[in-house]
């Protein structure tokens, strides 16, 4: 059997960036700090008037009104297809109308590099993660902030909300 030499770290991108470490279902994730506008408690979120008839959107069951804007609240546990979560915090995204329910915020941390997700990973995770980073020997997935709610999903949700609002108005006037 051959003993391999350590491969050069071509896959690593020099990334030195500030991330927020958050926990969902016992797993720690990282997200770019500049993708998050606010971290808040779960108060003020409202249940969607009706369920969205689309399997991929069952992760959205609440909305949040904040500074005159509507945010769709994404359950991170459902997004990552995890079974057991204990949500306590909400991360409001900066560049999309999404707010993400997580179990806990761990801390802010500067990371030195992000390694590409190994090619063996070929499923949904290729959309979920920008890559992996190492913090004190622990492998942490760095999430794509945009993947929590894509533009297509936002369009579907807005359309569902509009049709729900119209139906509600018609019910009142009838």
């Amino acid at each position: 059997m051959k003993i391999s030499k350590a491969e050069p770290r071509k896959a690593q991108a020099r990334a030195r960036e500030m991330v927020i470490l958050f926990v969902v279902g016992g797993v720690t994730f990282a997200i770019a700090a500049n993708a998050v506008d606010e971290i808040r408690e779960l108060a003020d979120i409202q249940v969607l008037p009706s369920a969205i008839p689309h399997q991929k959107l069952t992760k959205v069951r609440h909305t949040l009104r904040r500074q005159g804007r509507r945010y769709f609240v994404v359950d991170a546990g459902a997004h990552f297809q995890m079974l057991s979560t204990q949500p306590t915090r909400l991360m409001v995204m900066r560049h999309s109308p999404a707010a993400v329910i997580v179990d806990a915020i761990d801390r802010m941390q500067e990371i030195q590099s992000i390694q590409a997700l190994p090619e063996a990973f070929s499923g949904e995770e290729r959309r979920w993660y920008r890559g992996l980073t190492l913090i004190k020997g622990k492998v942490i997935p760095v999430v794509h902030a945009e993947a929590f709610l894509t533009k297509a999903e936002t369009t579907l949700l807005n359309a569902a909300m509009r049709s729900g609002e119209i139906a509600a108005k018609m019910a009142v006037t009838a």
Partner: protein
């Protein structure tokens, strides 16, 4: 990439349960003691997590249930494989259930009805060992 050769080649034999399988030695980069893999959410079949090998993140593919059924015994070592990859070569760790052995043998073509991931046979003293095509073994059609 699987290449048949008429000459003898070197293979790594490894046990999974009661059976032994073979991989061409040039595809194997190292044998390591099993560390607990670190897991995070994903949807790729067979992958159980990742391990750190020389500061490189190596995915772990547990093929034992596929090869030996759900009652495969506990895994003791990792065989770390070199894989071609679309962008660049990559490595994948395969947990095995016992000690591995290096043998020189002739790579014989598959005869009879065997799973798609068997790409050859080795005729050893008292056993026939299946040579695995790791890419086919890990492909979605086989593993899902």
């Amino acid at each position: 990439m699987i290449q048949f050769a008429t000459t003898r080649q070197t293979f790594v034999l490894f046990p999974i349960g009661k059976k032994r399988f073979a991989l061409p030695a040039e595809q194997v980069s190292e044998l390591a003691h099993q560390d607990e893999p670190q897991a995070f959410p994903h949807t790729t079949p067979l992958l159980t997590g990742v391990v750190l090998r020389r500061n490189q993140i190596v995915p772990v593919a547990d093929v034992a249930p596929l090869l030996a059924g759900p009652d495969a015994p506990g895994r003791k070592f990792y065989l770390v494989m070199n894989r071609p990859g679309k962008m660049r070569p990559s490595r994948t760790a395969i947990p095995v259930t016992g000690e591995c052995e290096l043998v020189d043998a002739e790579w014989l073509p598959v005869t009879g009805k065997l799973p798609l991931y068997v790409c050859g046979l080795l005729s050893l003293q008292d056993e026939i060992v299946e040579v695995l095509d790791i890419e086919k073994l890990m492909s979605a059609e086989v593993s899902s």
